[in-house]
């Protein structure tokens, strides 16, 4: 590398591409790990909850969301059901 390149590279566009890489990786890996730690029965569970609710209320397929989170020593299963607006 010549002297001019040397100074240019210190301030050039490459500076910091490693920090971008690291940030992207952090997100990617957290996402991958969350996906593989999820219990295998979640999709089926969601399906069956929708079926049960439908016996009583007409809801869409996406009215039920099931979230799974793991924090240190506890696992949290969060089920959210959005009921249709009741007629006035």
């Amino acid at each position: 590398m010549g002297l001019i390149d040397y100074f240019r590279s210190a301030a050039g566009p490459n500076k910091g591409s490693a920090s971008v890489a690291k940030e992207r990786l952090r997100i990617l890996v957290a996402h991958d790990r969350a996906a593989r730690d999820r219990p295998f029965y979640l999709p089926k569970l969601q399906e069956e909850i929708v079926a049960v609710i439908r016996k009583y209320v007409a809801v869409d397929n996406d009215a039920v969301s099931v979230n799974y989170e793991q924090e240190d020593s506890q696992e949290i299963l969060e089920v959210n059901i959005v009921l249709p607006e009741s007629p006035p």
């Binding site: 010549g2 040397y6 490459n14 500076k15 490693a18 990786l25 890996v29 991958d32 593989r36």
Partner: protein, 269 residues
């Protein structure tokens, strides 16, 4: 009882075969009876890196299929009498290896060897699963680069869910990180992920950092595992890795950019 070590990565071309050859030679040189097995069915390479390609008569699949016995297929290294190589089959049949067959071969080797080094093919499919299934230890060969780090992490997920130890609820596989093709200059310029970055993301014990080095290509050209070249940075770094694996403490080397004089900076550094 032998210890079975898988050299794996997920991503291809990161240095698994180079590492398997170095690891096996390093262990054998330190007096441990070691076998190294090429699991890359159809893409036999380890014999080339080890320089014994012309002595291959039978292969791993021949042994599994009962067409040869283990001793007929194992090639004794000419440089180190403790080292034996079991070459991969060149068949196109990707299912040539079965869990049962691999298990039988490892069990038989386990009676007389101390270490069994398994050189995994790339990917997360059949061949890679065969290579890691029976492992006691895993070396995750990783380049300081986004896709390689991510694939190593995915491989960690596979080790902890699909290996024999995981499925049988035994003590988990010991996992080690090996960073290869590391360029301190590029790290210093902020162009390449550094050792701490990768370690922070994968949170694994770092067994070694192997610098990007011309000596690796020279060694594979000649069919000599690079660990035999103790003049080279990569060879020395691999020796350190083997020593650490065996429990010795060795500080990491070759992490700082080479200091260049003003002269070489001015004229093509």
């Amino acid at each position: 009882m032998a210890r079975t070590i898988v050299i794996t990565s997920g991503k291809g071309g990161v240095g698994k075969t180079t590492t398997a050859a170095a690891m096996a030679m390093g262990l054998a040189q330190r007096g441990h009876r070691t076998a190294v097995i090429d699991f890359d069915v159809g893409l036999r390479n380890l014999d080339l890196v080890m320089g014994c390609e012309r002595r291959v008569v039978y292969d791993f699949a021949n042994v599994i299929n009962g067409e040869a016995n283990l001793n007929q297929a194992l090639i004794r290294d000419k440089r180190c009498e403790n080292l034996f190589i079991l070459p991969a089959s060149q068949t196109r049949d990707k299912e040539a290896l079965t869990l049962e067959g691999v298990g039988q071969v490892l069990e038989e080797l386990g009676k007389t060897y101390e270490y069994i080094v398994c050189d995994s093919p790339a990917g997360i499919e059949h061949g890679a699963l065969m290579a890691m299934y029976y492992a006691d230890d895993a070396l995750l060969v990783t380049n300081p680069e986004v896709s390689s780090v991510r694939d190593s992490d995915r491989m960690l997920g596979i080790l902890s869910s699909k290996s024999r130890r995981a499925l049988q609820g035994e003590e988990p596989i010991r996992e080690f990180l090996l960073l290869t093709r590391y360029s301190p200059e590029r790290v210093a310029r902020g162009e390449m992920l550094g050792l701490e970055d990768v370690q922070e993301i994968l949170a694994l014990y770092m067994l070694g950092v192997i610098p990007e080095s011309k000596s690796v290509l020279n060694a594979s050209n000649a069919g000599n595992p690079v660990i035999l070249d103790q003049e080279s940075d990569a060879g020395i770094a691999y020796s350190d890795m083997v020593a650490r694996y065996l429990g010795e403490e060795r500080p990491m080397r070759f992490l700082d950019p080479e200091r260049k004089g003003l002269f070489s900076r001015l004229f093509r550094g």
